[in-house]
Symmetry: none
Subunit: 207 residues, 4 copies
DNA sequence: TACTAACCGAGACGGTACGTCCCGTCTTGAG
DNA sequence: CTCAAGACGGGACGTACCGTCTCGGTTAGTA
């Protein structure tokens, strides 16, 4: 409760904007990791990092949007989509690492809470889309379009749809936990999907 | 603001439980329809229907759970899954009506908000699963198992997975609106999925 | 700053109303005496006595009104206006004790701040009038009317006006400190005023 | 709310001090007239006239002091105290015009708020005294001293006290509105006071 | 005339209070 | 005597203001 470390500086006036932003994001990350999205309130973040609520309001429209930036700014480095030329192996690696992200290290809880809160917070919804889901969708689409050009996917396959079939199914098991989300699911999902979308040569390599 | 219609009864004594429950659910439905899930708070529901918070706490563990019951109790009548024996047509009808439910009558917003809030509310999560998503998943699984027995699906197809590929992809477009959710998407999704899962005879009927 | 003694009870629910009111008034009195009217804020009072802001808002419309009740409820016991039948002596005693109240014990500062804040706070203005100034005015008027009947005041003297000439002049020196407020002023004021208002017999006893 | 007319100058450099001062005072007067003393904050004045808070802080110690200068600089021209040699008539004219100032053009509210705020703002208190109340007190004292020399007032009358009996009683009705402040009150007040202070000859002219 | 240094106004900062809403708990009074 | 009405403590929201301080554009002083 009162473990907020007030960090009592005696400076009252303006501080460099970057410094304040960094401290706000750091405090947010700590709260997010320790207690989840519900703990990320403007009041607690302000108390924890010594910033004022006014300042936080100037940069982030809602606690959810702040949490999103705090979380996603750390995961942007993972934005790599290896292209070895082997469709099946590449996508399997992506799906597996995605499932691991969601199931290990508690990352799934944060993402689920962010997407969940976004349903009632347009600002957060925009932040999640712009900083997280949309970039990843575009990377996958890029990859699939290259695979199409290489003849690894059937002509006429909707690469946008493919993303929903693969990652969307994973998000579904994350957000609506009526069935388990694990590596086995990811692998089965990939087989089942590529069986309908991959060209004949590729399909023959499945199982 | 104060248009909560205090419904000035002067009766303080106990009323029949069913009567009070019905009024609570009715007030909840009205709030849900008018202002969304955020407006469904115990305080406002109590003020609107003349019940006390104590009463509401006895029956529902959280505002989300109350909203869920209020919403799902109206949609249970739609729990039909026609089985004409025609796999493609039956599933297409189901998917299309599901998409219409989510996109047309504003139902999508409520469901999205409920699933969203469930990410931070275990009681609501349980309610959504038990009263909405799981029954529907089981209906679909039942249907697919019959289709398997009829030889319309490939041997070894994971019918549970099939649900995530189809409905999960739709939920994905609902909850993460980076791409549109519409009938065309549902149809393309169905084609792409069955191409990998349906048996040869069925597959040949897909374009 | 953090000498607010949080008085950490662990009781969350409703407490008896009288108990809460008493604690709120006590905390207010302490703040008023220690730091003046500016320190009486709903936030600090709530923090000091363990009440919630909501509760305080229910009973007092503004911090000033709370301070007024807190202060005046202690001074009501002084509401005595001795009537010995000797106009000059009685009024002199009243004026002198009034001036002492305003100049000693720091009481003047509080009253001045309350009347000052009332100029921009209608709720406080009403509280000051109802609980402090008007009862005292009425007591003086009562006395003067008895003096009129006793023939100690000239026929036609406006007793209401007399109050403004005597106590009003004192308030003037309190609120607009261009000249000192002391016993000598009170005595001179009384002589000068009664010289114009007292009947001939009484007037001859002055000086 | 945001109708503060940002007056979009693009000049960042220094402007003549007098020009800025005038604009600040003008903006203050407008706020004072429109919304009262509470609206005179450094933030709003700065936003309204395009100056920065830094600039305003350089010249005025508190919003109240700024409001006082803004208001009193307009009323200084009224500083005339006619001396026709007729004590009763001259003072009656003064008191009547003072009451009219306080009751008619909304001036009373501003003065009451300024005196009120001065109770908690030493800077404002000094400004009110120096720029408003003390000059007027001195004018009255001057007049009364001349009247003393002319033999129109009793020997030994305390002219300073006389000011509190007359104007102080009016301020009392302004600041503690338990009784009305109007011309009739001023006239009655004057009669009653002069009956005790004027010399015999003058007194005989009162009714 | 171009170029740098000092200055100072615009406004962001930390802090505090406001007034409101909601949650979950508890007293109390009506039936 | 029971239980529902609703007041309670706690906490977050979003806004306004104060008084302090950084920052960058303007101007004055050098090259």
């Amino acid at each position: 409760m009162s473990n907020e470390e007030p960090m009592n500086r005696s400076r009252r006036g303006r501080r460099p904007a970057g410094e304040v932003r960094a401290e706000v994001l750091e405090a947010t990350s700590a709260l997010l990791a320790d207690e989840g999205l519900r703990a990320v309130t403007f009041d607690r973040v302000a108390a924890r990092c010594g910033a004022s609520k006014t300042t936080i309001y100037k940069w982030w429209p809602s606690p959810g949007a702040l949490a999103a930036e705090s979380y996603f700014s750390r995961s942007e480095k993972e934005l790599v989509f290896r292209d070895t030329g082997d469709l099946f192996t590449d996508i399997r690696a992506q799906l597996r690492s995605f499932v691991r992200l969601l199931t290990e290290h508690g990352g799934g809880r944060v993402i689920a809470e962010l997407i969940g809160a976004a349903q009632s917070d347009p600002d957060l919804s925009a932040a999640v889309s712009e900083r997280y889901t949309m970039p990843r969708r575009l990377l996958a689409i890029d990859y699939f379009e290259r695979a199409l050009e290489r003849g690894q996917l059937l002509n006429g396959v909707d690469v946008n749809l493919l993303v929903d079939q693969l990652w969307g199914a994973c998000y579904n098991r994350l957000l609506i936990p009526d069935a388990p989300l694990d590596i086995a699911f990811a692998d089965a999902l990939l087989h089942s999907t590529l069986r309908g979308a991959a060209s004949a040569g590729y399909r023959s390599t499945l199982q």
